[in-house]
Each structure stands twice: as structure tokens, then as C-alpha cells.
């Protein structure tokens, strides 16, 4: 399971303090390996989202280093906690946005927009407006937009936290299928133990004050995950393991 080559990105001794003096992160070490589905798991306010934003380049670390394998950050896709769609643009236009900002003409982008929408099962909703869609469908549009540039790295910040469980399970499955098909590396933030175990090949457990990775858990689940996996003993065992790690992480600092 060990990655033979250098990691896609390596965070070393990273710290982050905000202007109000709050230390969000301190001494964070984390590798992101090619092709893995890495989950950042931890209690609220432990700096998971901050870590993700720093990987995306939306925020700068106060100390430590973030080193990319080729020296530059590749194209990344980002999915926020909210769908974050432009309400004045229809679904196709929203998905077109990253390509449009990259200077691609609409005609040129058309097949890729269609493919991205096909991938999330919204091919027939290209002309719908965001407010006409359900929460789950909006999140699908958001995922299509993040993947339309075929980024080697997809960052997701608690994307399904606001969705009901049925929708969430469905989106989990679809996300796994998409990531496998596109061979995208995914870094996924969640505070749900079950979601993290179901999705990931590896879980990084965070502790708070200051935020850092205290444990990593390899998930030896099957390559293709389904409802069967959710009911399997190894799933339960890994969940127990992750929960225990989370308890230890929270236990170190009294809440």
C-alpha cells in the first residue's frame, strides 16, 4: 500500500494563525498520495477546512511548508459546503464557468460540459436554474463544475453535510464512481465517521487547538464499495477504529 514515489503534495509542520490571534493549525504534517481518497476527519473547529483551503491556495500558511511534487500546484477542483452556484446562470453555464475563466469558447466547451453533467446524472437539466433544483441536485452541479476541468486533485469541504441521508448515500456512491473513472485524487473533509470509512482509502484524524493530524488509518476496503461493504464486519471494525481515534483526539484536549 505504501506509495513508492513522492507524494502529490506534502504539508510539513504547517501552522496557521488568524489575525485575531487564534491558532487554527500547528505542527500539521500530511501527505496526499496519488490516486487516493483521503478523508480529513475531526471535530468541528479543528482546522480541517483551513487545511483544505491552504492546499487549494485560497489561504496561506503562517509557518511550515506545502510542497508540490512538481513544484507547482496542479489544477484543483473545489467543492464547498454549499453548492455555491451562480443563481443567475443555468446549470450548463455554471458548469462552464471554470472553462470560461480558462478562456475556452462555449462551443469548444460544450462536449465537456455535457460529459460532466452526464457524469453526475443531470444531463437533462442543463437549462434549469439552480433555484429550480433540489439540494442534492445543486450539489451534483457543484461537483460537475469542479470536475469539468478534469483536475488531478479534487478538494471537498463537507459537501454533503446539509443533505438528507438517502441523498447523501447516493451521492457517496456516485462520487466514488466518478473519482475512480477520472482517476482523480480526492481530499474530503467530514465529521462523519461512517462517511469517512465508506469513502476513503485513508483517513487522517485531526485534533483541535491547535489543529493537527494525530493519527492516520488505512482503510482496506474493497476497491468498489456498495451497500454490502456498509454491512460488512470490516466496515464496522474500521468505524470502531476511527471512532476510537477520534475519541483519543478529542480526549487530549478537554472540550
Amino acid at each position: 500500500m505504501n506509495a513508492p514515489s513522492a507524494p502529490l503534495v506534502r504539508l510539513q509542520d504547517v501552522g496557521k494563525s488568524f489575525a485575531n490571534g487564534v491558532a487554527a493549525l500547528g505542527g500539521l504534517d500530511l501527505d496526499v498520495r496519488d490516486g487516493e481518497f483521503l478523508t480529513l476527519l475531526g471535530p468541528s473547529g479543528c482546522g480541517k477546512s483551513t487545511t483544505l483551503r491552504m492546499i487549494a491556495g485560497l489561504s496561506r500558511q503562517s509557518s511550515g511548508s506545502i510542497a508540490w511534487r512538481n513544484g507547482v500546484r496542479p489544477q484543483v477542483g473545489f467543492v464547498f459546503q454549499e453548492p455555491t452556484l451562480m443563481p443567475w446562470a443555468d446549470v450548463a453555464q455554471n458548469v462552464y464557468l471554470p472553462l470560461r475563466l480558462a478562456g475556452m469558447s462555449e462551443r469548444e466547451a460544450q462536449p465537456r460540459i455535457a460529459a460532466a453533467l452526464e457524469g453526475v446524472g443531470l444531463a437533462s437539466f442543463a437549462k434549469a436554474y439552480p433555484r429550480e433544483l433540489s439540494g442534492g441536485m445543486r450539489m451534483r452541479v457543484s461537483i460537475a463544475r469542479a470536475l469539468v476541468t478534469r483536475p488531478p486533485l479534487l478538494l471537498m469541504d463537507e459537501p454533503f453535510a446539509a443533505l438528507d441521508e438517502i441523498t447523501r448515500f447516493k451521492l457517496n456512491d456516485d462520487l466514488l464512481a466518478l473519482a475512480r473513472e477520472l482517476k482523480t485524487t480526492v481530499v474530503f473533509v467530514t465529521h462523519s465517521v461512517f462517511e469517512s470509512v465508506y469513502l476513503s482509502s485513508r483517513i487522517a484524524v485531526f485534533a483541535a487547538r491547535p489543529g493537527r493530524v494525530v493519527e492516520t488509518i488505512e482503510v482496506d476496503g474493497p476497491a468498489v464499495r456498495d451497500a454490502e461493504f456498509r454491512l460488512s464486519p470490516e466496515f464496522a471494525e474500521t468505524c470502531r477504529q476511527a471512532s476510537a481515534a477520534l475519541d483519543r483526539a478529542s480526549g487530549r484536549v478537554p472540550a
Binding site: 464547498f80 451562480m86 446562470a89 475563466l101
Partner: protein, 284 residues
């Protein structure tokens, strides 16, 4: 009837964007018919009171007399209406260009905003009637009237557009940054569309205010002005005790105000159409 209406409203609420449910036509008829009916009743009552109490037209003219005066004096009044309309729309056009332009400038940096916003606020809080005499000293009466109307229409457009530009979704701003969008692209593809609903609510206010500004300034200009707008007709008719004509001019001003509001409400609905809640308020 009322039960049916409630049911149809509920259906609309849950159905949201889908096709119009049954019964919406009758409820819409009620929406329009009720106020129109009440207004007609009001006019009839007015007419009746004037006739029965034998109130002379130089105190309170009956609606029929006002209507007849509008027809009889139409050449005169329509010319004045055109003058007032021209001033109102010229002032609005200037206010849109100035207000939106300055809002974009203010959005560029907090420092620019801090430096210039007080001026805009001073312009806003000073009652325009108090500036009008000064403007009349400085400027040609016709220009002074235009400037007055501009000043009152300018601020709502500026403040609303500035608010809209500032309240762009932070995640969307992050997204644009992630894809390395230039400031220019961020402005035209994100900030301006996001500010559009705010701009339109400013525009609706400004439309009414521009008319008020034009009327007020013309009243202030009074005898000094060679102005021939509707406000001038009111003053003139007052001097001549031609009360029906006063009412006729007043009616035209009212109708103009309503028309301006309706025009911008329609524009706003067309522009925001399917995407913004404000364009769907009637469906609630």
C-alpha cells in the same frame, strides 16, 4: 372563493417554478380587479359628493370635470408632461451612470469607499428643496431642475449597487480566485450580476424620487423659471384659480409616477426572471 384562493396559493408555494396551478387565473383577476373596483367606487363617491353637496369646481372639481379638463387642455398639458418626463428620465440616466460607476469605484477598495461615502451621504440627507434655491442662483433654471432630480435619484442607486457589489457570495469569490480570474472578469461575471437585484430595487426607488426631485425643483424655481413642466402648470393654475387644471396636472403627475414604478418593476422582473426571489414575490 377565498378558500380556493388560499389553496391555489399553497399549491404555488410548494410547486415553486412549475406550471401555473388551476385557479391562479381567478386569483390574479381578484388581485387586479379588487383594487380597480375599489378605486372606481371611490371616484363615483367623489362625483356624488360634489354633485349632491353642490361644491363649486374652484373648491373641489368632480372627477368628470378633471377628466374633461385633461382632454380640453391636452395640448398644453401634454407639452408640460413631456418636459417633466424628459427631465425625469435624463436625471435617471445620469443617476444610473453616476451611481453605478461610483459604486464600482467604491468597490475597488475600502479606502476609496471610506473617503467618498460621506459625500454621498451628505447629498442624500440634505433635503433637496433646501439646495434648490442655491442651484437656481448658480445654474440656468432648466439645468438646476435637472441637477435637483439627479441628486435625489443618485443616492439610492449608488447605495443599493454598492451594497450588492459588497454582498457577493464569498465562496463564489473564492472560486473565481481558485481559477485565477482577473479582477475584470470577477467584476463582469460575478459582482455585477450579483448586484443586479440590489440595483433594481435602487432603480425603483430612484425612479419615483427623480420625478419628485423634478417637481420640487420646478416649484422652487416658480416664477423665476421659464419652465413649462407640470409643476409649473400647477403653480400657474393656482394663481389663476383654475382649480380643475391644477387637479388635471396633479393627476398626470400621479399617473406618471405609477407608470415609472410599473416600468421598472417590469424591467426588474424581465431581468431577474427565473433566478431571483424578488422577481417571484407575487407567487408567495
Amino acid at each position: 372563493m377565498s378558500e380556493k384562493r388560499t389553496a391555489s396559493l399553497q399549491a404555488r408555494k410548494t410547486k415553486g417554478s412549475e406550471g401555473e396551478p388551476e385557479g391562479s387565473r381567478s386569483s390574479r383577476l381578484l388581485d387586479i380587479g379588487l383594487p380597480v373596483g375599489v378605486f372606481i367606487l371611490f371616484l363615483l363617491a367623489w362625483e356624488a359628493v360634489v354633485v349632491l353637496a353642490q361644491i363649486p369646481p374652484y373648491i373641489l372639481p368632480a372627477p368628470s370635470v378633471i377628466g374633461a379638463t385633461i382632454v380640453k387642455d391636452w395640448p398644453l398639458l401634454s407639452a408640460s408632461l413631456m418636459v417633466t418626463l424628459t427631465i425625469t428620465f435624463e436625471a435617471l440616466a445620469l443617476a444610473i451612470v453616476g451611481g453605478v460607476g461610483l459604486a464600482i469605484l467604491l468597490a475597488q477598495s475600502r479606502w476609496i469607499e471610506r473617503a467618498f461615502l460621506p459625500f454621498a451621504i451628505i447629498l442624500q440627507v440634505t433635503p433637496v428643496i433646501a439646495i434648490a434655491p442655491l442651484l437656481l442662483v448658480w445654474l440656468e433654471p432648466s439645468t438646476a431642475v435637472l441637477v435637483c432630480a439627479f441628486i435625489v435619484a443618485f443616492f439610492p442607486i449608488l447605495s443599493n449597487t454598492a451594497l450588492g457589489l459588497a454582498s457577493t457570495d464569498h465562496n463564489l469569490l473564492d472560486l473565481f480566485e481558485l481559477y485565477r480570474a482577473s479582477r475584470w472578469k470577477q467584476l463582469i461575471w460575478l459582482r455585477l450580476p450579483a448586484a443586479l437585484p440590489y440595483f433594481f430595487s435602487g432603480l425603483r426607488i430612484a425612479g419615483g424620487l427623480a420625478l419628485i426631485g423634478a417637481i420640487v425643483a420646478e416649484l422652487a424655481a416658480g416664477a423665476a423659471g421659464q419652465g413649462t413642466g407640470l409643476a409649473f402648470r400647477i403653480t400657474e393654475a393656482g394663481f389663476r384659480l383654475n382649480i380643475p387644471r391644477m387637479f388635471a396636472a396633479l393627476t398626470l403627475i400621479s399617473l406618471t409616477g405609477i407608470a415609472i414604478y410599473a416600468l421598472f418593476a417590469l424591467l426588474s422582473k424581465l431581468a431577474l426572471g427565473r433566478w431571483h426571489d424578488s422577481a417571484r414575490e407575487r407567487e408567495r
